[in-house]
Amino acid sequence: MSDGGGRTPAGAGRAPALEVRRLTVSYGARPVLWDVDARFPVGALSAVVGPNGAGKSTLLRAALGLVAADAGQSLIEGRPARAALDRVAYVPQRDAVDWDFPISVREVVEMGRYRAAGWLRRVPRADREIVDASLERVGMAPFARRQIGALSGGQRQRVFIARALAQQAPVMLLDEPFAGVDARTEANLLELLRALCGEGHSIVVVHHDLATVRAAFDWALLLNVRAIACGPVAEALTTDTLRRAYGGVVGASDAPLEESLWAG
């Protein structure tokens, strides 16, 4: 595995924002992650890429302890993940929830404060202000009182990201935030994520579009059940590693992949 080393944007020398060691996860008898080692540096915008069924989403969920691992461990800022949940904000896939649920945009974002404010207490004024600021930051302030079902796909994604912002956690893990989102929103959100990295957040995004990863991300883990490569984008995503990750698809024809790779 090419581990790149050195070229991390801000956090060289510190414990990685997220690190998994020898992680193996199975659904039934079939391993979906096999002996995965990966680390994501502090202050970087990192991508987890790989073909369908590569275990990308499972990696995030296992890293948080939401799925039981057969073996291996997950460290957030050097501490075991289960003990560091307050340092990480998780953005699940959009279609994981029922968007007809009776809840307003603001209430969803407020969920990001429940843990800090105390689950059983009213949300104090200071926390409500954080909620306002998060809504403002993603441009959803005019929609605060809407029921979430009335939103477009892009707006829904913004709500989820606002909830993660409200958690004020230094590490953010996003599962396919750009799936089914229009190009303009994707560009806006990428810009927002870049800005957050500039402010010291460490962000890991499960993503499927190699062109955007190439253009906008600092770091990449190339995954196909095993970790194929993990490092700065240019080192992790080479023709060779991509062929190993995508197998026959690339073997049959290099051209489309090469194209999408350099299009950014």
Partner: protein, 418 residues
């Protein structure tokens, strides 16, 4: 409870029945929401049916028709059924609906067999156990109502205290777990609340129809409200109203209570599903029709404007041909435009009146703005996440955004002119 029962302007028996039915309506209404909103309504059905053998076995052991011990038996059977469903789902290859169906049928059959056995071989003491099938409000004792009220109060208090964890887990269990909530435990608690609702309601409503009282209030409330807190309160109110009304009617008409309560609930839910503003079936259908007519009328208006530009005023027939629309639809649209004072007629040829011309121009401008947005919108950095309404970009994005859009179009972009 005693004082409340005395206060009601009803006979003592009727007052007890009414209070009991209201209490069970509130309990089932509020707690049922935690099944319906998780799309687990069928679990409620399975648990209600599964309570029956619990009741029969409790009677076998105690030999008395004491509501509390029979209720305890029902609770134990419910829990057993819930555990069995989860086990089958986790270890077997059955889908949840099959697991639920199998457990429901199995427990219910056992209950029927036991009840028949008791009826055949036991003393006359068992008479009345069959009311657990269809429900019977009559004969409800103040003592029973007190127990029901205590269970109701305890569970409502639990919901109020744990409202935020419950809401978070209901809406987004993955996020809830990532924020450190014990999601498994909370989901267990939600199932336990369902057991409480079933135990409180089964004697009055009956095993077969209990599910209706769990589902109907939430369905109705969801049609009318889009905040969880409001939905829960409304579900409690609807449950109370339906339970109270049904119990009183059945009491005075000497009908089985369960079916009467459920008929009331069915009426209320049907009305809500049909008529609720913004979510009701009729409301949605009306809006769809209005939308379709608007698109037709606007299309014909633009066709007419274009035809007038190109040559002499068209006939309705020529207009239909030019727009590729069915002549009858065009005739309908023209009638609509005529009523709005947008047309003048010259024999069988149609022209636009002054209002008509103005409307056509406004429409063309709106369409042009939408095209501009599609072409150049991506270069606008909007200050927030507003998105344009295709039919009216100006109203949805504001005048200054429209001005910038026009400026971009005039200046052309890096790709302009290609």
């Amino acid at each position: 409870m005693g004082r409340l029962i005395d206060l009601l302007p009803l006979s003592y028996t009727n007052a007890v029945v009414l209070v009991g039915a209201v209490v069970l309506g509130v309990t089932a209404g509020v707690l049922g929401a935690f099944a319906v909103l998780r799309e687990r309504s069928l679990i409620g059905d399975a648990l209600s049916h599964a309570a029956l053998p619990g009741v029969a076995i409790a009677f076998l052991f105690t030999g008395a028709k004491d509501a509390t011990s029979l209720g305890a038996g029902a609770a134990i059977a419910c829990v057993a059924a819930a555990v069995l469903i989860v086990l089958i789902e986790r270890t077997g290859r059955l889908r949840p609906d099959a697991a639920i169906g199998a457990v429901l049928a199995g427990f219910f059959s056992l209950g029927i067999v036991l009840l028949t056995y008791l009826a055949n071989f036991n003393n006359a003491n068992q008479a009345g156990l069959d009311q657990y099938l269809f429900g019977q409000a009559a004969g409800l004792l103040e003592r029973d109502v007190n127990v029901m009220a205590a269970l109701c109060a305890a569970s409502l208090l639990a919901v109020a205290v744990a409202f935020r964890p419950l809401k978070t887990t209901l809406f987004d269990p993955q996020f809830a777990a990532s924020a450190g909530l014990p999601v498994r435990t909370i989901e267990l608690a939600m199932t336990a609340m369902l057991v409480v609702a079933v135990v409180v309601g089964i004697r009055t409503v009956g095993a077969i129809l209990m599910v209706a009282l769990l589902v109907v209030p939430t369905v109705t409330a969801r049609q009318l409200a889009d905040r969880l807190g409001v939905v829960l309160v409304l579900a409690g109110v609807v449950g109370a109203a339906v339970g109270g009304a049904g119990a009183l009617v059945s009491q005075s008409a000497e009908l089985p209570t369960g079916p009467v309560i459920v008929l009331c609930g069915f009426g209320v839910a049907t009305a809500a599903v049909l008529l609720a503003p913004r979510r009701g079936v009729l409301w949605l259908a009306r809006r769809r029709l209005a939308d379709r007519r608007r698109r037709l009328v606007e299309g014909v208006l633009v066709d007419l404007e274009t035809a007038l530009h190109a040559g002499p005023p068209p006939t309705a027939r020529e207009l239909a041909l030019a727009g590729g629309r069915p002549p009858r639809a065009v005739a309908r649209a023209l009638r609509h435009l005529d009523r709005a004072g947008m047309l003048t007629r010259d024999g069988d040829r149609v022209l636009l009146s002054e209002t008509g011309a103005a409307a056509a121009h406004a429409l063309l401008e709106r369409r042009e703005l939408w095209s501009l947005w599609l072409e150049h919108g991506w270069r606008l950095a909007l200050p927030d996440a507003r998105e344009p309404d295709p039919t009216d970009v100006r109203a949805s994005l504001g005048d200054d955004v429209v001005e910038r859009l026009r400026a971009l179009a005039v200046a052309g972009g890096p790709e302009a002119g290609r």
